[in-house]
């Protein structure tokens, strides 16, 4: 058992750090939930891709460096420590790409991945529907067979980034007669500017259009944009949930950097005797370190070919609650002025963002059910 990096890994870290120091914009980009900010972040993705930093863990042929999970973690630590811009491509990279690697065709990978890596195509996810949030089996949007492809109809919602993104991916009911609600779903990709697609941006709590509703009216999708076999969408979507997706959804580097910034804020602002705040800052530091080490353990297991399975539910509950507590502590450190939405250092925007953590990617209530049932073996509830 060790926490040692190889000389190669150290060199990789040094290379990333040097490149980031030279290239990270010295003033923050505008919020990526605005048209202007989205464009700026897309340009940054192009810059990252130009130096092959946008998808380090992918094979070289698609724009990556074939980096191990550990190198990816190293890169993420450096990325967040450098206070580099948020990743506007993350939905595609974290959610769609693993599925394409496992279930896509060579043609699909060659066509989709390089453009994803370069930021030329920004992807939005289209999972949820108004009556199918945590309960994806209740999906009602349809894919109907058409000549050479499928026609999509229905409504998707909570589609992150869709206000400005180029394409989307999601599950559609292709066989309404299937014997179980999880069957008869098909995994498809489609363009957000295709005929029949209407995108209605939705403002999150602070009013920024962080997601959108999608209205689909006979949207044609060619067969080449179906991932896996038609009707097998549920299995396709779930099969990558136990791999490193659980690990890559929120990298430890993000929380380590945030805990460092919080510590600096505390050292700058707080009365050192104020143990109430000190204890909360310490808990954020401890939580970030715990998350880093937990991830190192999981990376070690993945490197030996194990699956994470339901353990990614532990992960989700932990980081989402850590993130909120960390930001609440920062706001309390800011004292009476903490209600300012445009406050220094983006803590207020980070706080609003953190509040979504226990909701998306499977609510924490669902995650706790999974932990109780699959890790502890308690009886299934009525869920």
């Amino acid at each position: 058992m060790d926490l040692d990096f190889t000389p190669g890994e150290d060199a990789f870290r040094a290379e990333a750090r040097a490149w980031l120091a030279a290239h990270v914009p010295s003033t923050p980009l505008p919020s990526l939930e605005t048209a202007e900010g989205f464009a700026a972040h897309r340009a940054w993705e192009r810059e990252l891709a130009g130096a092959r930093w946008s998808v380090v863990s992918w094979p070289e042929e698609y724009g990556g460096r074939g980096a191990s999970i550990l190198r990816w973690l190293v890169f993420e630590e450096e990325y967040y420590a450098a206070d580099a811009p948020g990743r506007v491509s993350q939905n595609g990279i974290n959610l769609l790409a693993p599925t394409l690697f496992e279930h896509g065709t060579d043609e699909q990978r060659a066509r989709v991945l390089p453009a994803m890596a370069s930021g030329a195509t920004i992807w939005a996810q289209a999972w949820s529907e108004p009556d199918a949030g945590s309960d994806l089996a209740a999906l009602r949007s349809t894919a109907t067979r058409a000549d050479g492809g499928w026609l999509l109809n229905g409504q998707k919602t909570w589609s992150s980034r869709a206000a400005f993104a180029d394409r989307a991916f999601g599950l559609f009911r292709s066989d309404p007669a299937a014997d179980r609600p999880h069957r008869g779903l098909t995994y498809l990709m489609f363009a957000l500017d295709a005929p029949g697609v209407t995108v209605r941006p939705i403002g999150r709590l602070d009013g920024k259009p962080a997601f959108a509703e999608l209205f689909l009216d006979d949207v044609f999708v060619p067969d080449e944009d179906v991932i896996g076999a038609p009707g097998q969408g549920w299995r396709v979507a779930m099969s990558t949930a136990g791999n490193e997706r659980g690990l890559t959804l929120r990298s430890p580097g993000r929380f380590l950097a945030a805990a460092d910034r919080l510590t600096a804020l505390w050292q700058e602002r707080a009365d050192p005797h104020d143990t109430a705040l000190r204890d909360r800052v310490a808990d954020a530091v401890i939580g970030a370190r715990a998350y880093q080490l937990f991830t190192f353990a999981n990376a070690s297991r993945l490197a030996e070919g194990e699956d994470l399975g339901a353990e990614s539910s532990l992960n989700k509950v932990f980081w989402s609650e850590l993130d909120i507590r960390l930001h609440e502590t920062a706001l309390d450190l800011l004292g009476a002025d903490c209600e300012l939405a445009d406050g220094a250092d983006g803590w207020a925007e980070g706080y609003v963002f953190s509040l979504g953590g226990p909701i998306y990617a499977g609510t924490n209530e669902i995650q706790r059910d999974i932990i109780a049932e699959r890790l502890l073996g308690l009886p299934k509830g009525r869920r």
Partner: protein, 334 residues
């Protein structure tokens, strides 16, 4: 002892509830947040006509007060409906003018506050005033001029307007203005004003928390997932139960502070009672907001769904006019 609202007070609350419901307050709040204050000013006048602001104004200045119990009851209702504007600040300005010993200023402003004609605001020392951009008078403590000019002033301008996590709250620093009360009298009046502001803010926060629970209960009964109303899930039920426990034990602290502020309040330290009420109401409302957001899921996280009006307000009121830390310090101060 009878530690309950009487029939008249209960009826007053019902009247306000009807008034605020009829006024489509959510739409008024959204207009206010967007910088259109016309519907908000109209609501303000209706609230004044119902007697809300007169509760903080003495009879000699055309008011009915100060009547802290009725103020608490009214401000719970204002919070329940997420009413916009410098509400707690108005109560505080009344306390300021009652205590500052300047009959001229009192005579100039109090009757117009009671009637709803004037909208006023107040900034804590060195900090932001709510709605400084639209108030007819923004009171503050000047500490920027020569020693002779330090004291209470009505600002003659304000800094840039800044956004709050509650979009209905627009904050700006007041600047300048002629000092009309200086020295210890100014300090004492400002201290009393801040106590009344904390008191009214606590009441608003309690109302915000109650609304969040009410709305979430209604949503949980209707929203189905996995084939059943989510309100039937025990995790949902227990979170809402805990939110209610927090609010129902904050409520008596609020009215305890109201009694302490009453002329017959006796020897109780009103400041300490207010601090206890402020921290309890603020924390209970914030906990209710976290619960409401989590149980609504994504829809609760959107600005266009009305729940957001209360979620942002719960966060802002938690620290306005007394952070939880400063309130706790006061509760155990010797």
């Amino acid at each position: 002892m009878r530690f309950l609202l009487d029939a008249e007070q209960t009826e007053f609350v019902r009247t306000l509830d009807r008034l605020l419901t009829a006024a489509d307050t959510p739409a008024t709040v959204r207009a206010w947040s967007a910088g259109d204050h016309t519907p908000g000013r109209a609501l303000w006048e209706r609230l004044a006509a119902a007697g809300v602001f007169a509760l903080a104004v003495p009879e000699e200045y055309d008011g009915l007060g100060p009547l802290p119990v009725e103020l608490a009851a009214a401000f719970v209702e204002l919070g329940r409906h997420a009413a916009p504007g410098p509400l707690a600040e108005t109560v505080a300005v009344c306390a300021l003018l009652r205590g500052a010993g300047d009959r001229g200023a009192a005579k100039e402003w109090l009757p117009r506050i009671a009637s709803g004609e004037a909208v006023v605001s107040l900034a804590p020392a060195g900090s932001y005033a709510l709605d400084a951009d639209i108030a007819d008078a923004v009171f503050h403590v000047r500490s920027d001029g020569p020693a002779a000019a330090v004291g209470l002033a009505v600002a003659d301008g304000h800094g840039p307007v800044r956004a709050s996590l509650d979009p209905a709250r627009r904050l700006a620093r007041p600047v300048g203005g002629e000092v009309f009360v200086a020295g210890a009298a100014a300090r004492d009046a400002m201290r009393a004003a801040a106590d009344w502001a904390a008191f009214a803010t606590a009441a608003q926060a309690l109302g915000v928390g109650l609304a969040l629970v009410e709305r979430t209960v209604a949503y949980a009964k209707e929203r189905t997932q996995f084939g059943t109303a989510i309100g039937g899930f025990q995790a949902v039920k227990h979170r809402l139960a805990d939110a209610l426990v927090g609010l129902e034990f904050a409520r008596p602290l609020l009215y305890g502070a109201a009694v302490a502020l009453s002329p017959a309040g006796g020897p109780v330290d009103a400041g300490r009672e207010i601090a206890a009420a402020k921290v309890a109401c603020g924390e209970a409302a914030y906990a209710a907001a976290r619960t409401a957001l989590q149980l609504h899921g994504a829809i609760g996280y959107t600005a266009e769904y009305d729940l957001s009006l209360w979620i942002g307000k719960a966060r802002a009121l938690r620290t306005a006019w007394g952070t939880p830390s400063s309130c706790r310090a006061r509760v155990v101060s010797r």
